[in-house]
Symmetry: C2
Amino acid sequence: MKQRLAAIGTVETLPHRVAAFMSREIESGELSPGARLPTEQELSEKFGVSRNVVREAIAQLRADGMIEARQGIGAFVLAPQQRASIRIDREALKDTNNMERLFELRCILEAESAALAAARRSQEHLDAIKTALDRMGGEERWEDGSIDADLLFHREIARATGNSYIHTFISFVCEQIRQSIHYARLTNPLHDLVEVNVGEHVRIYEALVAGDPAAAEAAMRAHIIGAANRVGVRLPLARGERADGGR
Amino acid sequence: MKQRLAAIGTVETLPHRVAAFMSREIESGELSPGARLPTEQELSEKFGVSRNVVREAIAQLRADGMIEARQGIGAFVLAPQQRASIRIDREALKDTNNMERLFELRCILEAESAALAAARRSQEHLDAIKTALDRMGGEERWEDGSIDADLLFHREIARATGNSYIHTFISFVCEQIRQSIHYARLTNPLHDLVEVNVGEHVRIYEALVAGDPAAAEAAMRAHIIGAANRVGVRLPLARGERADGGR
DNA sequence: TCTAATGAAGTTGTAGGATGATATGTATAT
DNA sequence: ATATACATATCATCCTACAACTTCATTAGA
């Protein structure tokens, strides 16, 4: 677990800093889509680094689909819709409002995925889910190991949908939330709520075993709303049940 | 529009190929999390490229959170959960099965988001959505401009949820599907189905205007299932309604 | 003997220059 | 006027060298 901390706090390398700077320039609109970037040599002079560093920075931005380089011409800013990847800024995770949004997104993804998983799960899937569930309940306190098991439980359900994209997306969102909580925590321990948490998981698992999509979806929705509450995020109802009709 | 074609067909650069190779090695498990990568020199010999190219490749993998490099020690494979980004392989988009999975994911995301949008949309949101809708209907054929308007319509709805993450995710998935269709198409034109498509969009819009979450969700779900069918993907029911109880 | 300082070797990080490949515009020759 | 050849600009790749950092063995000293 310390390793992970160290990984997060990795020192900023020069290419990374250059890439971050250029990335901000693009995000902020100073460099609009279609615009041509300065040449590598100009950039290396501007930032006071070698051309090598500039190229590594550009390699990152290129991998993200943020810019496109054409030999003999130059590098150009691409439209946001052409991005090849989704990345969430670490800094933004510290904002509670963003955590609320993340939970909302997670609820949308996982609730319906739970229904899919209930309809499609194989015995092998159920076993994997059960294993994670047991590991979670095994810990008497809400420790890191328990959190890992919790995430694994959710990832295994996502895997049971048979849709690798769903698995990827849910894994990603959950991991973002984990890190977000990691920042926010340290002040409010929530150990005594373990039984509640485990109980919610058991209900999800039972619905999956029963192969009842509607029950699985409902249980998952209740769980995520509960989990959000437990970390101090009041989830503003993610379903149409609200039906206040806008205004 | 030709530009985008050119962008997609960009030649594979050497660092990109090396990064793709190493990425596959990691994904496939040949290099498990925690394992140390060969030194840059060894890699440059293995691939027959300069150390510079290897470094650019590593820069990409590092940006993705796939590996971590420590000066004086080496580079190490990180656990999948520590990935900092989601990326979808372009090659995978050509597989029809993957397109089916993408549509399923999209359905999950957009259906519920439509409900959220119906409950939260402001007049400004509605105007933006209406503008996109008009632009879509303006074209008498199903051309690229119309597709752009279509995507914009969906993105504006996502924006109306007030949740930037939802907007980001939906934009991303839609764009992936667009490119996926781009590959698969050229053989089966689907121009004559425009009215159907526009009609579905109108129903969604009307539900948003009425501020009716349930109706918006249903309309969106019907639309995406329809859109999938129109490109030859039979969506295997994304809701619990199936309720076949597993097996 | 044990401890601490020293130093050598290995690895990533950065710098700088040289050459190849590609696109663009210009000048020349037919 | 058109087409070819050339010059230029830019990215792509390669090469060498050195700096910064880590690890481990060696050695000096108590």
